[in-house]
């Protein structure tokens, strides 16, 4: 197991955002993390990468207990993430943004080496010509790619993707899914939070479902989308429920 989340609780005041969440992630897989809004998906990411400490439970990464580690310690060990709300370093260039990831990530690269890495990664995510621009001059889709580039530049073992598809149009989604597939081919394990149901169902090896901070289902995409508990969880959100049904039907046809 590359990552083991064991019985993690997280409270915000009286609100229990995560209750007894246990997840195992195998090396090389793409794990989809779905659930209705407010289910605690991003909170789980924040606990995994050390932004919030877990109130109970433990986290093991690459066989080592990393409970209570700081985000920068985890980054150096090989954990990288993107943010749901993009966090570009606005007054730095796109290239410098990616260099930060390369310089301070797992490889701890020198500035000169990071510059080379940055150009490679920018080409990979399709931002090759944007390098010299300031990060705040990018549009949303490009900023999402920048988030991804920064995370990849650190050459992570495990990559947490928080809604990289949200706000993208159909063709952009297609491009991003292709990119995620290529990332997996490089041997990077991926956990992705996603609301675009057909995408996450197609790209994931396994899917886990959170609802009200609890893990209510896990399995292959087909198993999960047939699970009555999952369908019930999504009933509050007709649009998503419909998408879920649609995804289940398509998977059934295949």
């Amino acid at each position: 197991m590359i990552l083991q989340v064991l019985g993690v609780d997280k409270y915000f005041g009286g609100l229990q955002a995560l209750s007894h969440v246990t997840i195992d992630v195998k090396p090389g897989e793409i794990l989809g993390l779905i659930g209705p809004n407010g289910a605690g998906k991003t909170t789980l990411f924040n606990v995994i990468n050390g932004v919030y400490p877990a109130d109970r439970g433990s986290i093991k990464f690459l066989g080592e207990s990393v409970t209570g580690w700081k985000p920068y310690e985890l980054a150096k060990k090989g954990l990288a993430r993107t943010h749901q709300i993009v966090q570009p370093l606005n007054d730095l260039t796109v290239r410098e943004n990616v260099m930060v990831g390369a310089c301070f990530g797992r490889e701890n690269e020198s500035l000169a080496k990071a510059a080379v890495t940055a150009d490679e990664v920018l080409a990979f995510v399709g931002l090759a010509d944007k390098g010299p621009q300031l990060a705040n001059s990018l549009n949303v889709a490009q900023k999402k790619r920048l988030e991804l580039a920064r995370a990849l530049a650190a050459s992570p073992r495990l990559l947490l993707l928080d809604e990289v598809l949200a706000g993208l149009n159909q063709s952009e989604i297609g491009g991003m899914i292709e990119t995620i597939g290529q990332i997996r081919q490089q041997g990077v394990t991926v956990i992705m939070i996603e609301h675009v149901m057909h995408a996450v169902m197609n790209v994931s090896d396994r899917v886990v479902v959170l609802d009200y901070g609890q893990l209510i289902a896990q399995g292959t995409p087909a198993e999960v989308s047939d699970d009555p508990k999952v369908i019930e969880a999504y009933l509050g959100d007709p649009k998503l429920a419909e998408e879920l049904a649609e995804a289940a039907r398509r998977l059934g046809e295949e």
Binding site: P71, Y72, A75, A80, P88, D91, L92, F104, L111
Partner: protein, 322 residues
């Protein structure tokens, strides 16, 4: 390194060199005093820029390190009979240690809370020194003028301090340039732009911030030693003058925070303006009002400062102005 291809590197050094050589050419003590004040401002503003401009932490009480260094150095020279060079080393070291310890505590604070804490520290330091008898308490300390004979007499000592200040100004600009173009500097700028994102990307923020704070404290400390050695006496009110801190911020913001050249231009321009105001009857007593008004206008209209503004408007200048 083919440094001549990097105007961002040599332009600030040449500018300071040109300003610095003026008094030597004219041989005039009056010019020397004017330029000394400019050099002092360049050292203070550029040091503050390491923290304010690169790291994004606003220190409102940065003058505390100048005062602290000044006092430590002055004490060593006047009461312990130590030479100036030793006083300069101690005057740099003590503020550095102070910044390290303080930084561990207050760099956890962000934004306005950090700024408030730094003001508190300056006021606390002044109150402490005022009641600290070895440093002369409220009446401060005076130098016995015999001290200057070791440096070839008072007149010669003034020139020596002047050249040391010039060297220090060049050293600060070098440090500023190398910091900006290093991995350490990239980490600091990441913190400035978004501290949480920087942390997630692996920037070890507590230590990066602490070292930036330490570096930004060293040079003002040494400058304090030079100024008060030249001055011949030191008082708590002179060493920890809060409005100097605010003037430092005005200089950095005016020239362009986060640039190497900006604080240099800002310091020179502000000191020239201040000199003019001080001899203009109408403004003589309200020159600080002008500083305040300038800060307001800069923040409102050109928050990126002169150098930042030029870099934005004239793309080819980006290769020239760092």
């Amino acid at each position: 390194m083919n440094w001549f291809r990097r105007p961002g590197f040599w332009l600030p050094l040449i500018l300071v060199g040109l300003i610095g050589i003026l008094p030597v050419l004219t041989g005039s003590a009056a010019t020397r005093e004017v330029v000394f004040t400019i050099l002092l401002s360049i050292v203070l503003a550029s040091s503050l820029n390491l923290l304010l401009g690169y790291t994004g932490y606003v220190s409102f009480g940065h003058i505390v390190f100048y005062g602290l260094g000044g006092y430590v150095g002055f004490y060593l020279i006047s009461s312990r009979g130590q030479p100036l060079w030793l006083a300069m080393i101690a005057g740099g070291l003590v503020p550095a240690i102070a910044a390290f310890l303080l930084g561990r505590a207050i760099l956890r604070l962000r934004g306005a809370y950090f700024a408030l804490a730094t003001i508190g520290i300056n006021e606390a330091a002044r109150a402490f020194i005022r009641n600290f008898d070895p440093f002369g308490g409220p009446v401060g300390m005076q130098l016995n003028f015999q001290v200057y004979t070791d440096y070839g007499g008072a007149a010669q000592a003034l020139w020596t301090t002047y050249f040391l200040a010039l060297g220090l100004a060049l050293a600060v600009l070098l440090a500023s340039y190398y910091m900006k173009s290093s991995k350490f500097g990239l980490g600091l700028m990441a913190i400035r732009e978004n501290e949480d994102a920087a942390e997630v990307m692996g920037v070890v923020t507590p230590s990066a911030k602490t070292w930036a704070y330490v570096l930004s404290a060293v040079f003002p400390g040494i400058m304090g030693v030079l100024f008060f050695f030249k001055n011949g006496n030191i008082l708590p009110g002179d060493a920890f003058r809060l409005h100097f801190s605010i003037e430092m911020i005005v200089m950095v913001m005016l020239g362009g925070s986060g640039t190497v050249l900006g604080p240099l231009l800002g310091a020179a321009a502000y000191q020239r303006l201040r000199g003019t105001l001080l001899v203009t009857p109408v403004f003589r007593n309200v020159q600080l009002v002008v500083a305040g008004a300038m800060l307001l206008l800069i923040v409102l209209f050109i928050p990126q400062g002169v150098v930042g503004w030029l870099r934005e408007r004239v793309p080819w200048l980006r290769k020239v102005l760092e």
